[in-house]
């Protein structure tokens, strides 16, 4: 039995969406901690320890696990090249969500850059 293409595409869109939701939760949790990045391992581990005790982060993780399960299934059914090029829609989801939900400033330069990357990923995976 061959898995239909539209089903694979739908599943890839679903993993991208779950991934985006996970990133949104992660970024907003990190922003609430106001941490200054260093190369000091001890400080980083302390920061991670504070981070993982925030319940909001775990909501994101649930989506990450769902995304992983769907992704494993997709990989077992479809060509890796195709899966990767379709997964590049993830970048568009991220740009939209960062602008709309996190209120990041998406300049024209950033938008064009993101679209050029998506195009490049599709070319690489052809």
């Amino acid at each position: 039995m061959q898995t239909p293409l539209f089903l694979i595409l739908f599943l890839i869109a679903l993993t991208s969406l779950c991934d985006t939701i996970n990133q949104l939760f992660l970024k907003s949790t990190i922003d609430s901690l106001n941490f200054q990045p260093t190369f000091n391992i001890l400080k980083i581990l302390k920061f991670i320890w504070r981070l993982v005790r925030i319940p909001r982060l775990w909501i994101g993780f649930i989506f990450s696990v769902i995304s992983l399960c769907i992704w494993l299934f997709v990989l077992s059914k479809s060509d890796l090249n195709f899966a990767f090029s379709a997964d590049s829609m993830h970048y568009i989801f991220i740009a939209l969500a960062s602008g709309l939900i996190l209120k990041e400033h998406i300049s024209r330069l950033r938008l064009v850059g993101t679209l050029v990357i998506v195009l490049g990923i599709i070319l690489v995976s052809l």
């Binding site: 990190i30 990045p37 920061f47 990989l75 070319l123």
Partner: protein, 135 residues
């Protein structure tokens, strides 16, 4: 305003997270490679699929690297915008072909070279956009 700029330190972390990310994909693909004939038609067979995948040591190696990536990625996000970090992380699409050329002596098609140049150009644009002042 300089707070959100992409510095060399952040770029180094991004490349590190990309290399680890590539390792994750490699491990995960390895863990389901033996299951390509698997038929998932209902919930119980889906559960069996997940159970079989989790019995593979490759999957656990992959999950260990996931934890490492989480630590590196959190450090990156504490400094720069999500809409900058994610596009720049697309470096991994360049790393894999480069590794294939250098270590595996594979031939890279013209189309793929074009794709690599597009990605590099896009990454440069997104990085530059992090230096713009927010009006």
């Amino acid at each position: 305003m300089s707070k959100k700029k992409v510095t060399l330190k952040i770029l180094a972390l991004l490349i590190a997270s990309d290399i680890l990310e590539t390792a994750i994909h490699f491990f995960f693909k390895k863990s389901v490679l033996a299951e390509s004939s698997f038929q998932v038609t209902n919930v119980s067979s889906a559960a069996l699929f997940i159970k079989t995948a989790f019995s593979s040591p490759y999957l656990w190696a992959g999950l260990f690297v996931v934890v490492c990536v989480f630590i590196v990625w959190s450090t990156i996000l504490s400094k720069i915008d999500l809409s900058v970090a994610v596009p720049i992380a697309s470096f991994s699409y360049i790393l894999v072909p480069l590794v294939s050329i250098i270590f595996l002596h594979e031939q890279i098609s013209l189309l793929r070279w074009a794709g690599i140049i597009f990605i590099l150009f896009g990454v440069a644009l997104v990085s530059l956009s992090s230096k713009e002042r927010v009006a």
